[in-house]
């Protein structure tokens, strides 16, 4: 509390008092402390000053005055500027008057004679309160404006998100911590071919095929949602169970999103999945398979050329003898030998050309063992199986017959076996290693397993070996073998897995639908 002069030139006081003696003393006292004082001698004058003289920081008023009371003035001010503090200074010491003043929200009620110090302290406190209220009010106005702007932004963002959800080519999925679908974008709904309400709350495993090396995508979602913040993202390959029985490969990114705590509810974690898929994938897949076949032809052409050369040598000798007339071609049996030789050359050429011939794929009964025998014969002739210990096992008494096209089975088996051969390396001139080929029935599936004890695939690379053009063979590989196997198996609605073979090597297992006559 102070009575010393201050520099409050900007703080203005409306002093309402009808007694000139009091007006003079109080105005003098306030002005001496730096306040700007505007005097009103009665109620009407007070209203006029209040309306016209600009903004006051505080009103000091008598209770009784001509034309109205201080409480009437207080009520009027309350309607115009509720935050303006009004101090009543009166000779009326009755409790009723004070109580009424408080009820009408007077800032303070002082009874005459009031000391200068008390007056100044009260006025100073009122102005401080006024300033705080003004600051709070400005802050409130600013907050309201910020809130309005945020609401507009939020609305725009919501609209954009809505558009994104409706129009995005990529699939957008929101999954809960248990891997259940909370929401999905239009494009994904269209891809799956089911209405959204049928998809909501279903297990994500019903929408995605297990990954050949990483297993169920649901496990990935759950581990991300429950894991630490540092591992809140994942990218990889998945296969969508698209509509009309299609199995569509896609690239997926998973990100954990944490919803802020609202109204005391626990924070909720969601996993946002962005899915990129190539709608024209089937065509792309066919192109990949064709490229893979060409690569296989390239692989076999060398050995075929060698075989053809072997046949051409004797043929050339016989032709020379016939030309010189040194032998009877018919009587000596040369013609028969030459015909047989030409037939073998033709056979070699046919083997090369066969995969290149356009043909309509027809799915039906295919015996896996027959394909394997053909492939092994081919590889053996090409010298690819030298120094390899190979075993072929068929579990059970009956042939394993699957529902597929014979070229599809051929390409699956050929790719898996050549991969196994490549994995063994050259063995530095000695034994290269073991390959075990096994077929069997497992419920409704025909299973082919190719197991090698070669170099194996590093764990961090395993998830990528099904990506087209990714290879662990350096310049010797096309990166098409396993992706093509995966594509073919996918199109057959089968399944493929890749795992380690104990300490060394790799095991690739393929499940293809078992052939059911009339099924």
């Amino acid at each position: 509390m102070t009575t010393t002069d201050d520099h409050r030139v900007n703080n203005s006081v409306l002093l309402v008092e009808d007694d000139p003696l009091v007006v003079h003393a109080l105005a003098l006292s306030l002005r001496k402390s730096g306040y700007e004082v505007t005097v009103a001698g009665d109620f009407d004058q007070a209203l006029e000053r209040f309306e016209s003289a600009g903004e006051f920081d505080v009103v000091v008023t008598d209770l009784l005055m001509p034309g109205g009371t201080g409480l009437d003035l207080l009520k009027h001010i309350e309607t115009q500027d509720p935050d303006l503090p009004v101090i009543i200074v009166t000779a009326d010491q009755s409790v009723q008057a004070a109580a009424e003043a408080v009820r009408e929200h007077a800032f303070d009620y002082l009874t005459k004679p009031v000391s200068r110090a008390q007056l100044l302290e009260t006025v100073s406190r009122a102005i401080e309160h006024r300033q705080e209220t003004t600051v709070e009010k400005h802050a409130q106005v600013r907050l309201q404006e910020e809130h309005r702007q945020l609401a507009i932004r939020h609305q725009k963002t919501a609209m954009l998100l809505s558009v994104l959800y409706d129009r995005a080519v990529e699939g957008i999925l929101v999954l809960d911590e248990a891997g259940r679908l909370v929401d999905a974008s239009e494009s994904f709904v269209a891809l799956v071919g089911e209405p959204l309400y049928e998809l909501l709350d279903i297990d994500i495993r019903e929408l995605f095929e297990p990954h050949p090396t990483e297993g169920d995508i649901q496990d990935r979602v759950v581990s991300l949602a429950k894991g630490p913040a540092s591992s809140s993202h994942w990218r990889g390959e998945v296969t969508v169970y698209a509509g009309r029985g299609r199995h569509l490969p896609a690239k997926m990114s998973l990100s954990v999103c944490e919803m802020p705590q609202v109204d005391g509810e626990e924070r909720t974690r969601y996993v946002l999945a962005l899915l990129y898929y190539e709608i024209g994938y089937e065509q792309l897949s066919r192109q990949l398979q064709q490229a893979d076949r060409l690569a296989t032809i390239g692989l076999l052409a060398g050995s075929a050329a060698h075989e053809i050369k072997n046949e051409l040598g004797p043929l050339l000798g016989y032709l020379t003898m016939i030309e010189k007339g040194s032998a009877d071609p018919v009587g000596s049996g040369m013609i028969g030998i030459m015909r047989e030789s030409v037939r073998r050359v033709h056979q070699h050429v046919e083997q090369i050309l066969e995969p290149l011939r356009p043909r309509v794929r027809t799915r039906g009964a295919v015996v896996i063992g027959v394909s394997i025998d053909g492939i092994l014969a081919l590889l053996r002739r090409a010298g690819k199986l030298r120094r390899i210990k190979l075993s072929v096992e068929q579990r059970g008494d009956e042939d394993v017959v699957v529902h597929a096209d014979k070229d599809e089975v051929h390409q699956i088996a050929l790719n898996l076996i050549t991969n196994a051969i490549d994995a063994l390396g050259d063995g530095d001139g000695s034994d290269r290693g073991n390959i075990e080929i096994c077929t069997w029935y497992e419920h409704d599936w025909g299973v082919l397993e190719v197991r090698d004890d070669g170099a194996g695939i590093a764990e961090e690379l395993r998830a990528r070996v099904f990506e087209p053009f990714f290879t662990t063979k350096g310049s010797g590989g096309t990166g098409l073998g396993l992706p093509v196997v995966n594509d073919i198996v996918r199109s057959l609605k089968g399944r493929v897995t890749l795992d380690t073979n104990g300490d060394r090597g790799t095991v690739v297992t393929v499940w293809v639908p078992r052939y059911k006559p009339g099924g």
């Binding site: 003696l21 003393a25 005459k112 200068r116």
Partner: protein, 192 residues
């Protein structure tokens, strides 16, 4: 009872009206103690004196009233004294009072308090209507007539309760008649 009510009201008015000059003196003295600007001292002393004189007038009027309760009282003096006491009230209620003395009169002992009650009735009546008002008080021997008109020139009806208090104070020493915005006070001659 009416006497007691009137005296208590008068005490409240006195206390209230002393507060303003006392407020003035208090602040002026504090400013003086804090240190005056050059040349300010005499002016503040003058203002303080003015406030002190108002307090003195109020106290004198009250003292005269309480001293003369058992003696005949000159009516014009009683009116003048009470008018001085109620000056601030009249101003506050915007009552312009005009006093006319045709014939003065020595009233009975209750005259002083009855005049105070009459002024209170005037104030109380003014509170029921909208000012400014013009009041006229004419002393004509034992009869004093009071009238009050509002800003539109219409006679204001006197508060019956206030008029009744005046009559109660006078008791056997006079009577009060109230009609058509006029209040007539008739005093008996004091006992010789």
């Amino acid at each position: 009872m009416a006497e007691r009510t009137t005296l208590l009201s008068l005490a409240a008015i006195l206390t209230h009206d002393l507060s303003n000059p006392l407020q003035s003196i208090t602040v002026l003295c504090e400013l003086g103690i804090e240190g005056d600007e050059p040349g300010e001292g005499p002016r503040r002393a003058q203002q303080s004196l003015q406030a002190a004189e108002r307090m003195r007038d109020l106290l004198h009027a009250y003292a005269a009233l309480v001293r003369n309760t058992d003696r005949p009282t000159k009516l014009s003096a009683a009116v003048e004294r009470t008018d001085a006491m109620f000056a601030r009230r009249s101003e506050r209620h915007r009552i312009a009072l005009e006093v006319g003395v045709e014939r003065d009169f020595d009233g009975p002992p209750s005259t002083g308090l009855a005049v105070v009650a009459l002024f209170m009735a005037l104030i109380e009546t003014a509170e029921t209507a909208t000012g400014p008002f013009e009041a006229r008080l004419v002393i004509d021997g034992p009869t004093t007539t009071a009238s009050l008109v509002d800003a539109a020139g219409a006679a204001v009806t006197w508060s019956p309760a206030a008029a009744e208090r005046v009559a109660d104070i006078l008791a056997t020493e006079g009577s009060v008649e109230c009609s058509d915005g006029r209040l007539e006070l008739r005093l008996e001659s004091p006992p010789s």
